[in-house]
Symmetry: C2
Subunit: 309 residues, 2 copies
């Protein structure tokens, strides 16, 4: 299904802004509470919370994050889930979101309805309220930015900083081949896993894998260290080879550092008990820079997804 | 100054994403705290607050909200101030913001630097932390969406709902001619005024005037009522006539309903004492629908800014 239509009667232009916003409320249904707690006032009003707050924003842009082969319903789901993956990576839970559209007036209403209904279904599944948004016009573009507010689930949030020399490197699920397999819109954000990991003190640093492990791991690597990754241990998504696992991107899995002194067998047992259906793999460890053993991958040779090229 | 450049060396494309994000941090300076409280982790981390939270999002799009006659520094200021006006309209104070760019790789770096430096200056002035964002590529577009998180300053937030038949209608400042005078990027969001009004119990409903009074007042009008506006009382911005005051839009002033039984003289004195340099004008009142007196403007004849046309 194509995002734009040549028939004005089927486009958002035939409606104008007020009718469009009324339709968005209808499409979101119970995913958007009544104003001022949802769409309809100058701001959305949310209850206070003593927990630390988490704030993140991610887009879907036509031609970049999806094309005509992806059902519009899945595009709406993907937009929310990309942001949920960021909340998961800090060990948080989602609370509320606002959605800003930048779109050509030729966008097909039927496409947009499926997009919002997909987003609403994902919002219901993951307990997120869609509380507001904006619609702005621009030529030849469909871009949607979702800002997600969440909160910590534990006494701490897990950041990218904190890994130390000697720490073990783990990833959830499998890597690579995300676009070829449709994983890039079918994935499940690792919210429960992220919240569980935040409660394990031996987990020192965490992030989600979105631009490819080779690029993302750099942000997790402590100063003076390098990741020594064993190619044979990389968990591969169907059809991917280990180069794809390092560079394809859009995995939306969690990568984290486990303290060197942790009891890894006990940790793995506790994980299997909590998440029997989610793979967890130790793929290597942080070693001194310059001391990467022969046989380990030199990540400097690989690059993840490069934006703005 | 033009937002796009024909010289690749002067564009963001010559940098790529990582260098661009490093530059954005530099341009924002102290307006963005160190990670994880600012740019650099999966989410930004904010302290909890027992106060009610406010969430809003508004964009600036090249060709819609600004053109080449507006200095890029002012575009950055405008993006933040548009959102601050929404926080002001609920009687809140701003806390933190994230900024999502959807941009062509031909955007000039010098333009973007001035844009961020303007935003940073406004963030400092109004006490907002810019805590994160996203950069996504799209062809032939520059759009920036800013999501602003705020909190209530008083025991209540003032919504658009709550006005009653007989209530007086007031506006701050002056209306009309916003684009012609440059007010659309030079305005000061009415944060102090909004917080003060939220503490006055006689203020029953409030919103900001952004699409023109004729359109925006509809959202403030209680069921069964109509606004009876006296054209002669409309406060006009230099050069505007009363039609412009109703329909030009981008005023970023506050319009609110004052309870019929309120002591209006005492209210006006308290206002002048608190805000000696901000005009406050009673422009009419809410009367029974069908009972709009002869001489009052029939707002049904006027439309504010219509999006998506």
């Amino acid at each position: 299904m194509h995002v734009f239509t040549r028939h004005r009667a089927a486009s958002v232009a035939a409606w104008g802004e007020e009718k469009l916003i009324a339709a968005i409320r209808r499409w979101l249904g119970p995913a958007t509470p009544p104003a001022p707690f949802g769409i309809g006032d100058d701001c959305a009003v949310l209850a206070g919370s003593r927990r630390r707050q988490l704030l993140t924003v991610d887009p879907v842009v036509y031609g970049r994050h999806f094309d005509d082969t992806v059902p519009p319903r899945s595009v709406g789901e993907k937009l929310l889930k990309r942001n949920l993956s960021d909340i998961a990576a800090m060990g948080g839970r989602p609370v509320a979101a606002v959605v800003a559209l930048t779109l050509d007036a030729r966008v097909a209403r039927a496409w947009l309805e499926a997009f919002y209904r997909g987003m609403a279904a994902a919002a219901k599944k993951y307990g997120v309220a869609i509380v507001g948004g904006d619609v702005a016009q621009a030529d030849d573009v469909f871009a949607a930015n979702l800002t997600l507010l969440g909160e910590a689930t534990a006494s701490r949030v897990v950041t990218r900083a904190g890994a130390r020399l000697g720490d073990w490197i783990y990833v959830t699920g499998a890597l690579g081949g995300s676009v070829a397999t449709g994983h890039h819109f079918k994935f499940q954000p690792r919210l429960a896993e992220g919240a569980w990991l935040a409660r394990q003190r031996a987990v020192r640093a965490m992030m989600d894998v979105s631009d490819g492990l080779a690029k993302d791991l750099r942000a997790l690597t402590p100063p003076g260290a390098a990741p020594a990754i064993d190619a044979a241990r990389l968990p591969l998504r169907g059809g991917a080879d280990w180069r794809g696992a390092l560079t394809d991107g859009e995995d939306y899995e969690l990568v984290f550092a486990l303290a060197q002194r942790a009891d890894r067998e006990q940790f793995a047992r506790a994980w299997r008990c909590a998440f029997p259906r989610t793979a967890l793999t130790n793929i290597g460890r942080f070693v001194a820079a310059g001391a990467v053993p022969a046989g380990a991958i030199d990540l400097a040779d690989y690059h993840g997804y490069e934006h703005l090229r």
